[in-house]
Structures are given as structure tokens and as C-alpha cells.
């Protein structure tokens, strides 16, 4: 029964792992898969090219900047919304609000990029407002500062609802007896939130925070690729987009594989660390 999955995973996951050897080679495309073993070995030459490339160091910096901004905003927003939403006693209102805030999570970044361009592009709605106020049109998608803000903002828009339910589930799991005890002690709603709800959510908060650290090299390829353009490469080009442009589209497979390998090794170290931390502080186990 395990054979189909074992074979598929071997071919499409483990073979590419062996395929990273092309990062140490001058990969010969004409040899196909045999090129993995038979191309000319060049040692660290491709990595020297990667680390000598100012675009790569810029992309690395951009990756970290975008990820950290996303992680920090996505840490606080869902916690706050979950606490506020938990106060709503009218089930119809609560459920309707939940339904509306998760919806963007299920749409692709291609769809969302179309929508964002409609809003912020040169002929967008925001520029419609500007022109009715007699302001000059402004392309928010080609300005470094506003582009970064759009990345962070649209990421919150798409994902905060999804994370909110995880926290809502955690709040639902808190023993109601604790609230009764707090009320007997004269705690008001705010004090109950501070002394009962937040400590009750803490394990999940810690877990989510720790696990998000594992994704720090993943700045969101789908989102950036569908929104960025040459004028904002300076702040928006991340490792994944650079691998795609230079390695894949540029046909420099060995260079792309070297960048990818750097990313994969650092990524693995981060994910393993985050799992170990999660196990230690939150007793989290995957299986």
C-alpha cells in the first residue's frame, strides 16, 4: 500500500534533493538527468558568484525585512481580533463576521493581485479619489514605501481571519469555571481578559509565534511575484523571486540551484529549530 507514495516521493522529492549537486557543477542541460552525475564539477564557484552578487545580498535583506514585518503584524492582529470576536454574544453576528474575514484566505494571489491592481494601480479606485480631490495620480505599486505597505497590508487582509479561528478555538477551550472564579473575585471583563483569556491562549500564542520563525526565509513568492515590477525590485526582490528570474527564466540552472540550496539549508535549520523550540516550550508534536 505504501509503494505508490514511496515511489512518487522518491522521484519528485528525493531525486531533486540529490539534484542539488548541480549547484557544485557547471550543469550541462543537454545531458538531462544524467547531467546531475556527469556535469563538470566546479566546487564552490557558483556560490562565489551568488555571494558576490549585490542583487543576492539585497534579496536576502529584503526577504528578512518583509518576513519580519509580516510575522510581527500577523502575530498581533489575529490575537486581538479573536479576543474582540469572542466578546460577541450574538451568534448570527459572530458567525457572519467569521465567514467574511476568512474568505480572502481561500482566494489565490493571482486573483488578489488583480483586485489590488484595481484598487491601487494608476487607474485604480484610490487614484479615482485622488483625482476628485484634484491630486496628481500616484502609482502605489511602483513606489518603494507604498509597495512594502501594500505587501504587509494585503498579507494581513488575506491571512488574519484564518489565524483568528485558531485562537478562537483556544479561547473556547478555556475552562468556564475560571471565569466564574474571576467574577466571584470581582474581576471585570477587561481583568478577566487579562488574567484568564490571555493566559489560556498563551500556549497557542507561543506555539504560533515559534512556528512562524521557521518560515522566516519564505517571504511569500506568490504574492510578491504577482505584484512587483522593475521599479520596486530594490525593496521587493526576495530570494525566491531572484531564483526564479535568474536561475529559471535566465536559464542559469547551476546558479539558481546554488541560491536554492542556500535557502533550503538555512530554511531547514530554522524549521528544525522552531520545531524543537515548539516541542520544548509548548509540548507540540507533529505526529
Amino acid at each position: 500500500m505504501l509503494i505508490p507514495a514511496v515511489v512518487i516521493v522518491f522521484i519528485y522529492h528525493y531525486l531533486p534533493m540529490f539534484g542539488v549537486v548541480i549547484a557544485f557543477e557547471n550543469y550541462d542541460w543537454s545531458k538531462g538527468l544524467n547531467g546531475f552525475w556527469t556535469s563538470q564539477f566546479v566546487g564552490w564557484a557558483n556560490f562565489n558568484r551568488v555571494f558576490g552578487d549585490p542583487e543576492f545580498s539585497q534579496a536576502l535583506l529584503n526577504t528578512l525585512r518583509i518576513s519580519v514585518l509580516k510575522i510581527v503584524t500577523m502575530f498581533f492582529v489575529p490575537i486581538i481580533v479573536a479576543i474582540l470576536l469572542n466578546e460577541i454574544r450574538n451568534m448570527f453576528a459572530k458567525r457572519t463576521i467569521q465567514t467574511l474575514i476568512y474568505l480572502p484566505h481561500f482566494l489565490s494571489w493571482v486573483v488578489l493581485a488583480g483586485i489590488i491592481t484595481n484598487l491601487f494601480g494608476p487607474d485604480g479606485v484610490i487614484n479615482g479619489f485622488r483625482s476628485s480631490l484634484n491630486l496628481e495620480p500616484f502609482n502605489y505599486l511602483t513606489d518603494n514605501g507604498s509597495f512594502l505597505a501594500i505587501l504587509i497590508g494585503s498579507n494581513i487582509w488575506k491571512e488574519f481571519g484564518f489565524s483568528t479561528i485558531v485562537y478562537l478555538a483556544a479561547i473556547t477551550g478555556i475552562d468556564p469555571g475560571l471565569y466564574e472564579a474571576a467574577m466571584v473575585d470581582g474581576a471585570n471583563r477587561l481583568q478577566q481578559t487579562w488574567h484568564v483569556t490571555l493566559p489560556g491562549m498563551l500556549p497557542i500564542i507561543v506555539l504560533q509565534g515559534v512556528l512562524s520563525l521557521g518560515g522566516i526565509l519564505n517571504a511569500g513568492f506568490d504574492q510578491i511575484y504577482n505584484l512587483y515590477s522593475v521599479p520596486v525590485y530594490g525593496v521587493a526582490d526576495v530570494i525566491d523571486t531572484l531564483v526564479f528570474r535568474k536561475g529559471f527564466q535566465g536559464g542559469d540552472y547551476s546558479l539558481g540551484a546554488a541560491m536554492g540550496l542556500f535557502n533550503a539549508v538555512c530554511g531547514m535549520a530554522l524549521i528544525v529549530t522552531s520545531y524543537m523550540l515548539a516541542k520544548k516550550v509548548a509540548h507540540y508534536e507533529i505526529f
Binding site: 507514495a5 534533493m17 539534484g19 453576528a93 540552472y253
Partner: protein
């Protein structure tokens, strides 16, 4: 002394409650407002949309943009590819994951190598060869520019597998034990007993795989070289930043060419984006139900 029945209801709290309800309602509306804008744009006259005048209600409503989209052969073709991909990809994922999860849900005392297989699959989530080596393997195993490139490499999904095996593990053991006594083999236990009572987890995995396949655009961009093999999302991605009035002009139908007067690149793009998002919005009510279930299932540890 406060009255007992009213312990957590003060005047200040009532004010907070009102403000909170208004705030969350506005927040929820803010989340869907861009979608409403999209729909309005797609139904508006071209020159208003191009001037950024359309907000939440169509101006000079027209269906011209939709007619242009529906008259485009490439659109229908890519829609067909997407539907084929969703059906093929979801069935393949389901079969492979059911087959994989069943042995892995067994006790280690019965299936000694369980741990090694779990790690074999799990390791792929920690480390990957990356875009380029994966592309080369797909290319040189003959999947390039075929629908299999979009469904085969990702069908053995570890997270789906973990979700399923955790579900299988909490099923009552007596059921399969009774079947063993009756002389049933593993295949008949799995497909006659386990699968029929595992509908919740199967529904969760099915819906999420369908949405994943429908939404994926990157696979189509990387692995498909022929335009007629593009799934809808990839096709949409490829025309996101070009002047779409060309699509109408390329139509042989004179009536469609005339529709251009009423549309603009923005309205045509909006119509196309809306049509692409529509299936998701239609299955969304089911998704939401099973999504919450999926979280509960995922947290059940055997």
C-alpha cells in the same frame, strides 16, 4: 455591592460592546469590500472604470466585459484544463493518501517500520531540492507540458496524510479486529470499513485539495509550455498586466469587437478575475464547515 445576576454587565461594558460590534462589522465589510469593487468594475462601462470612478456599485451597467471573456476560446480551454486538473489531481491525491495513511495509522508494535516511513515522508517538509532541480526532474521524467506535471509530483501530501492517519487512529479498533476474524484482508478492511466511516476527514482533504489545485498558478507557469495547456489561474496570471482589449479585437466575431466600446482593459480583467474566483466563493460555505472540522481533527492525537 453589585447585584449578583449582573456581575459582568456594567454600563462601560455595554458601550464597549457596541463599539466592538461596530468595529468588527466594519472590519468584516473591509475584508469583502475589494470583492464588491471587483464585481462592480466588471459590470461597469469601460471609461468609468478606467477613470477609477467605480466603487461599490456598477456605473452604466453592462455585461460587455463578460461577453468578451466568454467569447475568448483560450479562456474556455484553460477552464477545461483547470477542471480536468481538479478532478484528476483530487482523485489521485485521495487514493494515494488513503493507501499511505492506513498502514501508517497502525501501531508500531504491529508495523515495525512505521517510524522510518513516517520520517521518510516527513523529511520532505524540512528539506527540498528547490525549484530548479525539481523542474529538471519533472522535465526529464517526461511530465513536462502534460497535465501529469501538475498532479503527480504533489499528490503524496504529508500534511493530508498526517490528518488522515490521526483520524484513522482514533477509530474504534474493534471494527477492524472483527473484520480480521472474519478473514478480511487489509484492502477490504480499508475500503469496506475504514473509508466509509471516515467521511469527515475525506471531505476535508477533498475540499482542500480541490481548492489547492484550482488556485495553483505557479505549476502551470513552470511546467506548461503550450498556451492551450495552461490552467485558468496561470492564464489569468499571464494576462494580468497586459492590455486586454486586444483579446476582444482578436475575436473573429464582429459583435464582440463592437463590445469594446463598452469595456476597457480594467473591466475585462475584473470580469476574468471574478469568474476565476467564483467557484471558490461557491464552495466556500462547505469549506468553512470542514475547515473548522479539519482543525479539530488535526488536533486529535492517537
Amino acid at each position: 455591592m453589585r447585584k449578583h445576576g449582573n456581575l459582568n454587565r456594567s454600563r462601560g461594558y455595554d458601550i464597549f460592546y457596541g463599539i466592538n460590534l461596530i468595529f468588527l462589522t466594519l472590519l468584516a465589510l473591509l475584508c469583502v469590500a475589494p470583492l464588491l469593487n471587483l464585481l462592480s468594475l466588471s459590470l461597469s462601462a469601460g471609461h468609468y472604470a478606467a477613470a477609477g470612478k467605480v466603487t461599490f456599485w456598477p456605473i452604466e451597467p453592462t455585461t460587455a466585459s463578460y461577453e468578451i471573456v466568454f467569447a475568448n476560446k483560450v479562456f474556455w480551454n484553460s477552464l477545461g484544463v483547470s477542471v480536468e486538473r481538479v478532478i484528476l489531481g483530487t482523485s489521485l491525491t485521495l487514493v494515494v493518501n488513503i493507501l499511505t495513511s492506513y498502514p501508517l495509522s497502525m501501531d508500531s508494535s504491529y508495523f515495525h517500520a512505521r517510524r522510518y516511513y513516517l520520517w521518510y515522508f516527513f523529511f520532505t517538509t524540512l528539506f527540498s531540492g528547490g525549484l530548479i532541480p525539481t523542474f529538471l526532474v519533472v522535465k526529464f521524467t517526461g511530465l513536462y507540458d502534460t497535465i501529469w506535471a501538475l498532479v503527480l509530483p504533489g499528490c503524496a501530501n504529508v500534511w493530508n496524510c498526517i490528518l488522515m492517519l490521526n483520524f484513522f487512529r482514533q477509530l474504534p479498533k474493534e471494527l477492524s479486529e472483527a473484520a480480521v476474524i472474519d478473514g478480511a484482508g487489509h484492502f477490504s478492511i480499508l475500503f469496506r470499513i475504514i473509508v466509509p466511516i471516515s467521511k469527515p476527514v475525506l471531505a476535508t482533504v477533498t475540499l482542500f485539495t480541490m481548492v489547492g489545485h484550482w488556485n495553483d498558478w505557479f505549476g502551470g507557469m513552470v511546467y506548461m509550455s503550450t498556451l492551450s495547456h495552461y490552467p485558468l489561474q496561470t492564464y489569468l496570471q499571464s494576462i494580468l498586466h497586459i492590455d486586454l482589449t486586444q483579446i476582444a479585437l482578436s475575436s473573429v466575431d464582429f459583435r464582440i469587437q463592437e463590445k469594446i466600446q463598452l469595456a476597457s482593459s480594467t473591466t475585462i480583467r475584473s470580469a476574468m478575475v471574478f469568474v476565476t474566483a467564483l467557484p471558490i466563493m461557491m464552495v466556500y460555505p462547505f469549506l468553512q464547515k470542514y475547515f473548522t472540522k479539519g482543525i479539530v481533527l488535526g488536533s486529535v492525537k492517537g
